[in-house]
């Protein structure tokens, strides 16, 4: 019903008609880049705003309310402030690495967005190994964090970066295994095919309890991978002042900040795509009338609603729980999540072999 493929095809067709294939490709790439960057910036800024409003409500506060109605332009004002702030250069820091680290972090998160399907056809690139690509790209961000910590020439930063390294490497396993559960169910690594396999029901419902367990594990491990509370050991405000970005200021700090929120968005978007049916509307049994009404709601809305729900869950965790200690963090992964995940994977393989899922 809302298929964006013809629209995209007509644009590329028009470009190919007017320009040579090289220029057509280049122009479409630039257009895509501009669109993605805009989406990225707007989403990042408003995720920050949403988090501040949500946590304010949970904490019986008002939250931002000064700039614009309900403080809607607060984060934009913050961004302008950060743009104008002085960039501090640190003595004896490795300047090249120090400057490049925020870009590595932010590029990793921008690249991840490229393969996320917002609606049918509304996807920058539909790789046949989409899930693998996401896993590979999202683990690139930690290199930026490690570099930032190392290059800052600050002990707090190094501790934060090392914690982050240990954390992300451990939790990568759980993220991968939880996603593998759905790959086993769907039989594909391509996002469009995974969504297509959920036309008759989302995997979280279709896949029995193992799929739900995989979802919970993915949520926990995903939160840990984005270095957000209760797993924000890399920043650990009360212990390491600000962890790996202690020494950063101005727009470089803003890059880290934005990347954190966009990583959260990417994690939530993947959860939506794999577990909650991506941009597919919510269907209930065979109620044709109800399902038909649901079909009228555009898929982009469905995608963002589901993603927002997952993001809300992650914020809810952050604003409720205390932070874990580094050894507990690793114990949680290696003693609890990983064994449960492996058993879960075997169970899912068995279910898939027997064709017992709906």
């Amino acid at each position: 019903m809302y298929d964006f493929t013809p629209m995209i095809d007509s644009i590329t067709g028009y470009l190919n008609g007017v320009f040579t294939p090289f220029w057509a490709g280049l122009i479409s790439m630039v257009m895509l880049g501009v669109v993605l960057l805009t989406v990225y910036a707007v989403l990042g800024l408003y995720l920050v705003f949403a988090e501040r409003k949500i946590c304010a409500r949970m904490q019986n506060r008002l939250g931002p309310n000064r700039v614009g109605p309900f403080g809607l332009f607060q984060t934009i004002a913050d961004l302008i402030k950060l743009l104008l702030k002085e960039l501090i250069f640190i003595k004896n820091a490795d300047n090249f690495l120090f400057n490049i680290a925020p870009f590595i972090v932010i590029i990793a998160s921008i690249m991840a967005i490229g393969s996320i399907p917002f609606a049918k056809g509304l996807q920058a690139i539909d790789l046949n190994i989409g899930v693998l690509y996401i896993l590979a790209i999202s683990s690139m961000g930690v290199i930026g964090i490690l570099i930032a910590g190392w290059a800052s020439n600050s002990k707090y930063s190094v501790i934060g970066a090392m914690r982050s390294g240990a954390q992300v490497i451990s939790y990568e396993l759980s993220v991968g295994l939880a996603l593998l559960c759905i790959i086993v169910y769907a039989g594909s690594m391509q996002f469009s095919e995974i969504i297509a396999s959920q036309e008759d029901g989302w995997w979280i419902f279709k896949g029995h309890i193992p799929a739900f367990i995989a979802f919970v594990i993915y949520l926990i491990a995903g939160t840990a991978e984005t270095n957000r509370g209760p797993f924000d050991l890399a920043e650990a405000e009360s212990e390491l002042t600000a962890g790996f970005h202690t020494e950063y200021s101005g727009i470089k700090f803003a890059f880290f900040f934005l990347a954190e929120y966009m990583n959260m968005f990417v994690i939530a978007a993947i959860a939506t795509t794999l577990f909650l049916g991506g941009w597919l509307p919510f269907h209930l049994f065979q109620w044709a009338g109800f399902n038909h009404v649901m079909d009228y709601i555009p898929p982009v809305f469905w995608f963002f609603a589901k993603t927002a729900f997952v993001i809300y869950l992650m914020m809810w965790f952050k604003w409720t729980f205390p932070r874990l200690r580094i050894d507990q963090l690793l114990a949680l992964e290696w003693k609890y999540l990983l064994p449960i995940n492996l058993i879960n994977l075997i169970l899912i393989s068995f279910l898939t072999l027997m064709q017992w899922h709906f």
Binding site: I54, R57, M58, Q59, N60, R61, L62, N65, W316, F317, W319, T320, F321, Y336
Partner: protein
């Protein structure tokens, strides 16, 4: 026996997970409850509520020399308040005038109050036998120039109702 022990250990393992998750859910109920049903907000939107904002009667704002409607205060220059002040925030400057009966009298020239050194201990107000002092409700003390914090409390042209000139 060994098998039984293993089963028990496995049971403990899952019990631990259950207890942990239950405790987390209990915490999430509190924050989630406040998300759905907004709690009482104690934050005051300060500059907007300036018109309705009322401090408590006893609020210690800044020191005030009480003037009545005839622009009269009741300071008799006894200097008790200045002596009671631990920080030397009060200076009572008097001048001598010739009274009607021919005797010279001390009357208030300037009642100087240093807000910048005042620690609001409140010793001066009860010290005054004439009840000439009180703390008013003013709390917006911020200024750009420190010298503005040194204030003369007696209004221009005011007279004393206790000591007759």
């Amino acid at each position: 026996m060994a098998l039984l022990k293993t089963i028990k250990e496995v049971g403990n393992y899952f019990n631990e997970i259950y207890d942990g998750v239950a405790s987390l859910v209990r915490g999430m109920k509190v924050t989630g409850g406040y998300f759905i049903k907004r709690g009482q907000i104690v934050t005051q939107k300060y500059p907007e509520n300036r018109a309705t904002l009322k401090m408590f009667d006893n609020f210690k704002g800044e020191l005030q020399l009480i003037h009545d409607e005839n622009n009269q205060h009741s300071c008799n220059v006894c200097n008790t308040c200045a002596r009671k002040c631990p920080n030397g925030s009060i200076e009572v400057i008097y001048k001598k005038v010739e009274g009607a009966d021919g005797r010279s009298k001390k009357i208030l020239d300037k009642y100087i109050y240093h807000l910048e050194t005042c620690s609001f201990c409140g010793l001066c107000v009860p010290a005054c036998d004439e009840h000439a002092l009180r703390f008013d409700q003013e709390f917006e003390h911020a200024v750009f120039d420190k010298s503005k914090l040194t204030k003369v409390l007696n209004k221009p042209g005011s007279t004393c109702k206790v000591v007759k000139e």
